[in-house]
Structures are given as structure tokens and as C-alpha cells.
């Protein structure tokens, strides 16, 4: 069905950003505009999601050129779920930014950049054209560069150089892949590619192309051994920025992996094995990193890496059950990881540090905030019946069915280490008595009640979403089920785009 509303979520953020440019130095206006823009975007994404969930795949032909000749936007359930999750995360981060980001950064375009980034993400999730996807990825990259460097602190810039180099390399691989794929099929439309790729006589070339995409998107998803940019940079920007990065940037890479490897390249045994192998190594790499880090954001960065392995493994097993586990995990992960970085920002406000050995006493001083955070931490660990628990059932089941016991073992190890580091974090940050030799720089207490609310509300929104995901798992499972069906059988997608 053709429906031009589907790029509303892109347009909203584009306009929000442009209007904000007009209010370059009016930080209060920018804040209001940002929250308003995110709310509108959120409403549109809900509409989009319900339309797709209750109806069928929606498409839109840009400039009215029919696919495969023009650029087409496609909202299937996978896309619209991502858009919805992005909108929720964006709303939370936008509210948090209103207090969590300093005025200096706002004076230099923090909010427009933020909205450009969200726009880029939404665009990437919705486009049905492989080259257009590249353009969206570049929008994401450049916006994230700017957000990462905004403020110009030493650590930020050092992280940004590595981030930049590795991400541009990823784009190079991606673009090379696009060049080859055009060379062998003469088309860029993903649905059209899905039809034409199997017709290519030399499937060896197809596999070679798939490797370019795997590496390009692998870097963006921070998969072993391509993950280096993530722990090099995620601890450097302000927490609000880290939150949107932590929750969504790698997920855009994962989205692309899922899209490309279920629609365009149906992986052969070799690629599947490679994906599962990478997933295992990714999980272990994250585990090893997480266990030795003492700074909360370093720890969370490695946990991101670790849990990306869960999702990639689900893709690599390539069965319906595995897909359901991976998709459910993705949905859970976006909410929780965004929230973790917001939490680290809040804790920094409370204590002026994110070093676990220097922190302490939060439970005694802020019991209710602590319990709110506990909900998020337990969701992350997957304490049943919270959100991280359900996908594990599918992933365990899938690895038994696929006889990939190594993957199963790494899942168990990762679950355990996550539990351990979070228990340690809780003991250190919340239980331990506040250290007395350090001067506690509490920049939270002096804030007005309104500002305090603005800091805690987004954490609450995301925590409630996580709770919803956990307690109403049935609904998420239905979504995951539908998405997995879409991924295993792309013909409805192709029919929606090409009409055949």
C-alpha cells in the first residue's frame, strides 16, 4: 500500500533541526522545540507502527518514480518497530538533554545535530534502496561525528579520531559493496535486488559482495573483530549523546545486517558459520572487557559489545526461533542500553564521577531513584520476568535446535558475567558507603524540582518501556514473530515494493 505518511518521522526531525538552526543561540526555544519535535515524531511513529501492525507493508515512492527506478521508502514491521523504538529513545534523550547538556554545547548546535542524527536513523530504517541507505548512514556518521566532538575536550577528540577512521573505513566497504552489487545486477532497489541476486550465475561473486556488506555493517554494529571504535569513543561524549549512541548507532548497523542478510543475500552455510563464530567471539570480547572495567561507561560500552553478539548469533543461526530471540533482544536492548547511559549521566550529576570505586551510598541517599535504576539493571541482566529474560528462552532453544553448543555456552557465560558485573556495580555504587575522603560534587541537589524531574523522567519512561516489554512479553513476541516471518519470507516485501 502506498502511504506518504511513512516518512513523516524523517520529515519531523528534519524540520525540527532546520527550525532550531533559526534559533541558533536561543537555548530555551531549542529545548522546547526539541521535546516538541520528539513528541510529534513519537506520535507519528506510533501511527506508523499501528498502521503496519494492523495492516500491511506500506511504501512510498520518492518523487513519484516507481520502484525500482526511483527511491522507495518501505515500512514493514521490522522498519516501523525500529522507528518506534528510536522515537521513544529520542524522546527520552531529548528530555534528558534539556538539563543534562550544558548551555555551551547548545549554543553550538547540539540540538539540531541530535535531530539530524535521529532523522538519519529513521531514514536508514525506512529506505528501500541500498544506495540511499548509504546516504542515510553518512548522515548518521557526520551527525554523530559532530555530536562526539562537540565541546572539544581532549578525550572526546581522541575518541573521535578513532571513531571517524573506523567508520569511514566501514563506509568504504559498504560503498565498494554497492559498486559491485550494481555491477552484477544493475539495480539498487533492495526488493529488486532480492529478485535479481539469485539469478546471478556466478554465486561466488554474490558471496564476495556479501562479505563487503558484512564487514561494512559489522564495523557499524561493533562485531568482533571490528568493534574497536565503540569502546574507544563511547565513554567520551556527554551522557545524553552516549545514550543515543549506545542505544541506537550499533543497532542501525544490526538493522542493516538483518535487512541485507534476509532480503538480499540469503546466507550460505559459510556465512552463517562465520556469523555465529563472530557472535561467540563478540560475546566473549564484551565479557572480557566488562569484567575488568571500573568506570561505569567503559563497563556499559563492553556490555553493548557483548550483547550485540546475542543478536548477531540469532541472525547467524538463521531459524525462526533464533530470529525471534534476536529481534526480541534488539527491542529490549535499545531501551535498556539507552537508559544505562542516561543513568550514568544522572549518577555523574549526583556524584561528579563515574568511577565505581569512588562512588557509593546512593541507595541510602536516593532510595527511590536507586530502585528505579535497579529495575533497569535487572532488565539488563534478564532477571525474569523482566525484558532481558524472554529472548534468552528463544536463543537457548535455537542454539539447542541448531546444535551450536558453543554459542549456548557463550550465552550462559555472558549472562552470568552480566549478572556478576551488575551485582558488583550495585554493591559498589549503591550499597557501599559514600567515600568520605572525596569531596562529593552533587550537582543534582541544587537543581530545581522541575529540572530534577527532567533528568529522572526520561529514565522512568525508558524503565517503564522495559517493564512493559518484560511483563507484556506476549505482545513483543507477537511483533517478533511477525518480523521473523517477514525476514524468512521476503515475498510480501517484494510485492509491496514492486507489485509482483
Amino acid at each position: 500500500m502506498i502511504d506518504n505518511q511513512i516518512i513523516a518521522t524523517v520529515v519531523v526531525h528534519l524540520f525540527t533541526a532546520i527550525i532550531q538552526l533559526a534559533f541558533w543561540s536561543k537555548t530555551i526555544t531549542q529545548r522546547i522545540l526539541s521535546i516538541a519535535g520528539c513528541i510529534i515524531g513519537f506520535i507519528f511513529s506510533i501511527i506508523l507502527f499501528t498502521n503496519v501492525f494492523n495492516g500491511s507493508i506500506l511504501t512510498m515512492n520518492a518523487a513519484n518514480w516507481e520502484a525500482p527506478f526511483g527511491i522507495v521508502f518501505v515500512a514493514d514491521l521490522l522498519s516501523s518497530t525500529f522507528v518506534l523504538l528510536t522515537s521513544i529513545a529520542a524522546l527520552a534523550v531529548s528530555i534528558f538533554s534539556a538539563v543534562g547538556i550544558g548551555k555551551a554545547r547548545m549554543h553550538y548546535g547540539y540540538f539540531p545535530m541530535f535531530h539530524f542524527l535521529i532523522m538519519g536513523l529513521n531514514g536508514a530504517f525506512l529506505t528501500g534502496d541500498i544506495f540511499n541507505l548509504y546516504v542515510w548512514f553518512e548522515v548518521i556518521i557526520i551527525a554523530s561525528f559532530v555530536l562526539l566532538t562537540l565541546g572539544g575536550r581532549k578525550a572526546q577528540l581522541e575518541g573521535a579520531v578513532k571513531y571517524m577512521a573506523l567508520n569511514i573505513l566501514a563506509s568504504t566497504f559498504f560503498l565498494t559493496g554497492i559498486g559491485i552489487i550494481y555491477g552484477i545486477t544493475g539495480t539498487l532497489n533492495m526488493a529488486d535486488l532480492s529478485l535479481k541476486i539469485p539469478l546471478v550465475q556466478d554465486q561466488n561473486i554474490v558471496n564476495l559482495t556479501a562479505i563487503f556488506f558484512m564487514i561494512g555493517f559489522g564495523i557499524k554494529s561493533a562485531v568482533f573483530p571490528l568493534y574497536f571504535w565503540l569502546p574507544s569513543s563511547y565513554h567520551t561524549p556527554p551522557s545524553a549523546v552516549a545514550a543515543i549512541f549506545g542505544g541506537l548507532l550499533t543497532k542501525a548497523g544490526l538493522y542493516a545486517l538483518f535487512r541485507v542478510f534476509t532480503l538480499i543475500f540469503i546466507p550460505n552455510e559459510f556465512i552463517k558459520t562465520v556469523l555465529v563464530g563472530l557472535a561467540i567471539m563478540t560475546i566473549l570480547t564484551g565479557v572480557f572487557g566488562a569484567i575488568i572495567r571500573n568506570n561505569m561507561r567503559h563497563l556499559f560500552s563492553y556490555l553493548i559489545v557483548c550483547h550485540i553478539g546475542f543478536i548477531v548469533g540469532g541472525l547467524g543461526l538463521y531459524t525462526k526461533v533464533a530470529f525471534m530471540g534476536a529481534i526480541f533482544y534488539l527491542i529490549h536492548d535499545i531501551m535498556v542500553k539507552t537508559n544505562l547511559f542516561l543513568i550514568s549521566g544522572l549518577i555523574r550529576k549526583l556524584r561528579g564521577t563515574m568511577n565505581m570505586s569512588k562512588l557509593g551510598g546512593l541507595y541510602a541517599e536516593y532510595p527511590k531513584i536507586s530502585l528505579l535504576i535497579a529495575v533497569v539493571l535487572f532488565s539488563l541482566v534478564g532477571i525474569p520476568p523482566l525484558s532481558g529474560f524472554w529472548p534468552k528462552i528463544y536463543l537457548f532453544e535455537a542454539s539447542f535446535a541448531g546444535k551450536s553448543y558453543l554459542f549456548l555456552a557463550s550465552l550462559i557465560i555472558a549472562s552470568f558475567i552480566t549478572l556478576y558485573v551488575i551485582a558488583k556495580l550495585w554493591a559498589e555504587v549503591f550499597w557501599k558507603e559514600a567515600s568520605t575522603d572525596e569531596i562529593v560534587a552533587d550537582s543534582f541537589q541544587p537543581l530545581s524540582r522541575f529540572k530534577k524531574t527532567l533528568l529522572i523522567l526520561p529514565i522512568g519512561i525508558l524503565a517503564c518501556t522495559s517493564l512493559f516489554i518484560g511483563l507484556y512479553a506476549e505482545f513483543i513476541i507477537q511483533v517478533a514473530n511477525r518480523i521473523s516471518n517477514e525476514m524468512l519470507d521476503p515475498s510480501p516485501y517484494i510485492k509491496a515494493v514492486l507489485g509482483k
Binding site: K154, Q156, V161, M164, I178, Y182, G183, H235, M354
Partner: protein, 119 residues
């Protein structure tokens, strides 16, 4: 001729990779530029090259009468060139700022021990 271009692509990719593996930030950037050039030529080559037949419809014609160069790769490369210019120029300025901060362009020096207060 295609073989010559194939060779050229190899040279550009190799040179690009070699340069990004160096310690100097300037070389890193040059390497990225070379890789970009290599990719562009690859896209160009794979979309059937034709000599002297630009994809421009003749003055009095409405459609092509003759064979013509595939316009799609050209359009893609054009977009890619401009985008990578955006990225490169930002990276160049970033390089300047980093240089101003740590007074070297040695990439190995980008490891300030984690001083959290500086975040």
C-alpha cells in the same frame, strides 16, 4: 583498457590501506581519500565504461539513438564524492584541533590515560 583500470583500482586500494596503517594523522586522511578514489573508480568501471559517449541526449533528440555511458554509476559517484568531501573536510579540521591540543600528529599519542575529570 579495463585491465589497466583494474590494476589502478588495486594500486589505489593498496596505497590507501598502506597509508591508513601509518602513525601520522595526515597520512591517515590521505589514505582515506585514496580509498575513496579507489572505490569511485571501481563503481565507475563496473558500470560498463564507454569512451566519448556522455549520457547527454543530443540537442534535437528526445531519446538516445546511440549507446551511451551508464549514467547511474556516475550519479552515485557524484553523490559519494560530495559526501566524502563533507566528511574529509570535517576530519581535516578535527585533525587541526587535535594537533592544537596534543601538539603532535602521531596517532599513537591519542591515549591520554583515562582522566575521568576531563570527560
Amino acid at each position: 583498457m579495463e585491465l589497466l583500470l583494474v590494476f589502478l583500482i588495486g594500486v589505489l586500494y593498496a596505497a590507501g590501506v598502506y597509508l591508513i596503517l601509518r602513525r601520522s594523522m595526515v597520512r591517515l586522511l590521505l589514505g582515506i581519500i585514496l580509498l575513496g578514489n579507489g572505490t569511485n573508480i571501481l563503481i565507475f568501471l563496473l558500470g560498463n565504461i564507454v569512451k566519448g559517449k556522455p549520457p547527454i541526449i543530443g540537442a534535437n533528440l528526445k531519446v538516445f539513438q546511440d549507446i551511451y555511458a551508464d549514467p547511474v554509476p556516475q550519479a552515485l559517484i557524484l553523490t559519494a564524492i560530495v559526501i566524502s568531501f563533507g566528511l574529509t573536510s570535517f576530519a581535516i579540521v578535527l585533525l587541526k584541533r587535535v594537533y592544537a591540543l596534543i601538539n603532535t600528529d602521531d596517532l599513537d599519542d591519542l591515549n591520554t590515560p583515562e582522566e575521568e575529570e576531563d570527560l
